[in-house]
């Protein structure tokens, strides 16, 4: 009994040690919580910043722009680029339109040729002008069904299992 008491006394800590221990534990918890909170705040702040940037870009797509604010060219949404491309395509079409081409023809004093003045020669392998192709044709449907009998491809184990199943099915069907 005395030995137990001695042991208990031996492992009992002094009050100041216990306080230090408690303070340490609380500080550890606080520091840990602070670290977690810091990481959380950092991540959420960055997420919010990126979210706002995305929203600002989205506003450029569907929202309104102020007259005095120059739109930043560094980050242009795809939709706005597509609008610009469509606009430029139309501008290009204007420059090559029939009317503009005719004006250029007149400026250069060119005359349309008559059929009488055209000389036709035979060019072996000549391929007639093809109509425009803006995209590839749809891919043909590939039939992957094999023409080889499964018995020539299956393993012995699969074949035996199949035979067992067939036999079992046969007996189950003939049973009255």
């Amino acid at each position: 009994m005395e030995t137990i008491q001695q042991l208990t006394h031996a492992y009992e800590q002094a009050p100041w040690r216990r306080q230090m221990y408690m303070i340490g534990v609380i500080l550890l918890i606080l520091v840990s919580a602070a670290i977690v909170a810091g990481i959380y705040l950092n991540v959420t702040a960055r997420a919010a910043t990126v979210g706002r940037q995305i929203q600002e870009m989205q506003v450029r797509v569907y929202g309104y722009h102020y007259l005095t604010n120059d739109a930043g060219e560094a980050m242009v949404p795809i939709e706005e680029l597509e609008q610009r491309i469509a606009n430029l395509t139309s501008q290009l079409a204007i420059f090559s339109s029939y009317q503009v081409m005719q004006e250029r023809v007149n400026d250069l004093n060119l005359q349309p040729i008559d059929a009488d003045h055209i000389q036709y020669i035979e060019v072996p392998g000549y391929i007639d002008r093809q109509t425009t192709i803006l995209a590839p044709p749809p891919e043909p449907m590939v039939v992957t069904a094999s023409t080889i009998d499964p018995q020539f491809k299956e393993s012995l184990f699969v074949w035996v299992a199949d035979q067992v199943q067939k036999t079992a099915r046969y007996f189950s069907e003939v049973r009255p």
Binding site: A48, Q58, Y62, Y64, L67, E82, T89, Q91, Y120
Partner: protein
């Protein structure tokens, strides 16, 4: 060292043991410390209790709010301000000609409006907008400035957040507005009196795409246009509106940056590649304009078709609207003038219809090319006496002579030889009395009266045989005659859409054969017969170096008091080269004044068109082809 160790290494029990009074004298300090600890203890406990109670109160309040009657309202208000509904419209698909030249695209325009809370000076805004948009077709009226001011003023009173002030503003006009805004922003901060500091603050804009037609009026009757609401009107724009426009998507966009939702990837509208050749279309419109000037006709049509496939290479019709200023529609199309006469206006075709009567009779075996008919100058059918165009008698004629001289009496006789049942069966097989299905909006079905109809009389067989008393559209005529022109007896579906580009793939439908109203032998026989007729008559339609087949037509126009002999529809239909048909050209001039005859006003138009067509289509003369073959 050993001593030090002995001093330090002692049992824990001895440390806890109370030391004797002689070694550690009792002091009053430890008592005070104990009292202080007790005092600190109850204070801490009190503070802890207060914090605990505060926490409990907060939790109670949170729970109370969750179950309070106002909760639903709070939630709905939160939802209202936490997200906004946006409708995204995909870019409208482009339209190209057969060689990839853009016929209909898109251009940037801007909607300009005011965010009312941010407006500093409504006077400046109304002044700047009215000045910058002074040349804009929709805002070039003097009251526009006052209207803007009153709109902003009303919005301020009613608390409206945003008002639209202008739309379809061009990039150039927007740049001017931006320059004005920047200049105002640089003004010094001084007292500007009652007028206030000039400012365009609060003025905002939003870009979007608008339909644009770089060729202006070229091919306008085929293309149609897109109205303010973005809906295709007439022509290809209306016929393929759903394909071109794509599917708009509505999306609730969250204002919470943590809940940013992606703008949906919109599927753009499909691009269309037409069968139309821009150069041939321009040539057709040019020739038609000249023909109207020369003949004094009210209107006209020129159709160019590839009879082998049914592809329409050109459809020229008058009048033409510039689709970029479609709001001029009412000024251009007055009265009942259709947008595209080629598909929407039926008329009595006259003698060009004899091609089909003869085709039916030859195919049925009712007549043969050398069948002889003695033309006495008149024939009676159903109580109606029919005469030739010149009221003359042409004596013995074979079928080539009947066609070459365009004898009404002969063709009436041919129709009687065929019989009403067979005649109308063939005409139905040729597609008359119903729409062709051409992929252009607003097609008219025409009218083919049939035996058994209350308004059909026996005399109709005679008049119908030479193209009177029947209403057809030009597109029906080219479809029917394609069966003769291609030499195969196959009637091809006329169409203007060659390919469609969607989801990154180009789909090209195969040409459709509508039917086989006649045999290939009949088609070739009739083509030969008509080619010989043209050559025999030295027609103005002939083009040096090319063997062509064709037929003129002159139809009297029905008026409330009967058929007019001074107002006619002059037509010509022809195709070639006879040995390898590449084109079918149909010309119709309405009410020409220089001459009423198709052979005089319409045949030269066909000639002019073919002269340009053979160059544009790289068709060598027959002699050159034979020379190359012999070589």
């Amino acid at each position: 060292m050993r001593r030090y160790m002995a001093d330090q290494v002692v049992s824990a029990g001895r440390l806890r043991r109370k030391p004797p009074a002689s070694e550690y004298p009792e002091t009053t300090h430890s008592a005070n410390e104990k009292a202080g600890q007790t005092l600190t203890g109850w204070r801490f406990n009190l503070l802890g209790i207060l914090f605990f109670l505060a926490g409990v109160m907060i939790i109670i309040q949170l729970v109370r709010l969750q179950f309070s009657p106002e909760r639903t309202e709070f939630v709905s208000q939160g939802d209202l301000y936490s997200r906004t509904l946006h409708i995204f419209y995909p870019p409208r698909g482009d339209i190209y000609d057969r060689w990839g030249r853009l016929l209909a695209g898109s251009t940037l325009v801007y909607e300009v409006g005011a965010q009312v809370d941010n407006v500093e000076n409504a006077d400046t805004i109304s002044f700047a907008l009215s000045k910058v948009l002074s040349s804009h077709p929709e805002y070039d009226y003097p009251e526009y400035s006052d209207q803007i001011y009153s709109v902003i003023h009303r919005a301020e009173i009613s608390g409206t957040a945003y008002v639209q002030l202008a739309d379809f503003v061009t990039p150039e006009e927007l740049t001017q507005l931006q320059d004005w805004a920047n200049n105002y922003a640089k003004l010094p901060n001084v007292d500007y009196g009652e007028a206030g500091r000039p400012s365009l603050n609060g003025l905002v804009y939003r870009p979007r795409l608008q339909r644009y037609y770089p060729e202006d009026t070229l091919g306008a009757n085929i293309l149609g246009f897109v109205n303010r609401e973005g809906t295709g009107m007439f022509g290809v724009e209306a016929e393929f509106n759903d394909l071109l426009a794509g599917a708009p998507q509505s999306v609730w966009m969250s204002l919470n940056p943590y809940e940013v939702s992606e703008i949906p990837q919109l599927k753009s509208g499909a691009d269309l590649i037409l069968t139309i050749d821009r150069e041939i279309q321009a040539a057709a419109e040019d020739v038609l304009n000249k023909a109207l000037d020369d003949s004094g006709a009210d209107g006209g049509v020129i159709l160019v078709m590839d009879p082998n496939t049914g592809e329409m290479l050109a459809i020229a019709s008058t009048p033409r609207l510039n689709p970029n200023i479609y709001w001029d529609y009412a000024n251009v199309f007055t009265g009942n003038t259709p947008f595209n006469r080629a598909v929407s206006q039926d008329y009595e075709p006259g003698s060009v219809f004899k091609v089909l009567t003869m085709a039916a009779a030859l195919d049925d075996g009712a007549v043969k090319p050398d069948t002889e008919f003695v033309d006495s100058g008149s024939i009676e059918i159903g109580g109606l006496t029919i005469h030739n165009w010149d009221w003359g008698a042409w004596g013995p004629q074979n079928m080539q002579g009947c066609m070459a001289h365009s004898l009404n009496v002969c063709l009436t006789w041919v129709a009687t030889q065929l019989g009403a049942g067979q005649f109308y069966k063939y005409m139905q097989n040729f597609g008359f009395g119903r729409i062709t299905g051409v992929d252009l909006a607003g097609e008219a079905p025409g009218r083919l009266k049939l035996p058994g109809d209350t308004d059909w009389y026996e005399a109709e067989l005679g008049t119908n045989s030479f193209g009177q008393g029947i209403a057809v559209t030009p597109i029906q005529m080219v479809m029917a005659i394609s069966s003769v022109a291609n030499g195969k007896g196959e009637m091809m579906m006329p169409h203007v859409m060659r390919s469609m580009v969607r989801d990154g793939f180009q789909y090209t439908p195969t040409p459709q054969v509508i039917g086989h109203p006649i045999s290939a032998d009949t088609a070739r026989t009739l083509t030969e017969l008509l080619a010989n007729s043209l050559e025999g008559e030295s027609s103005d339609a002939l083009v040096d170096g090319y063997r062509l087949a064709g037929k003129t037509g002159t139809a009297e126009i029905a008026t409330p008091t009967g058929y007019s002999s001074t107002e006619t529809n002059a037509s010509f239909v022809g195709w070639g080269p006879v040995d390898n048909p590449r084109f079918l050209v149909f010309v119709w001039l309405e009410r020409p004044t220089s001459s009423i005859w198709g052979s005089i006003v319409a045949a030269p138009v066909f000639h002019d068109m073919v002269e340009r067509l053979v160059v544009l289509m790289d068709i060598p003369p027959d002699g050159a082809l034979q020379g190359l073959a012999n070589h």
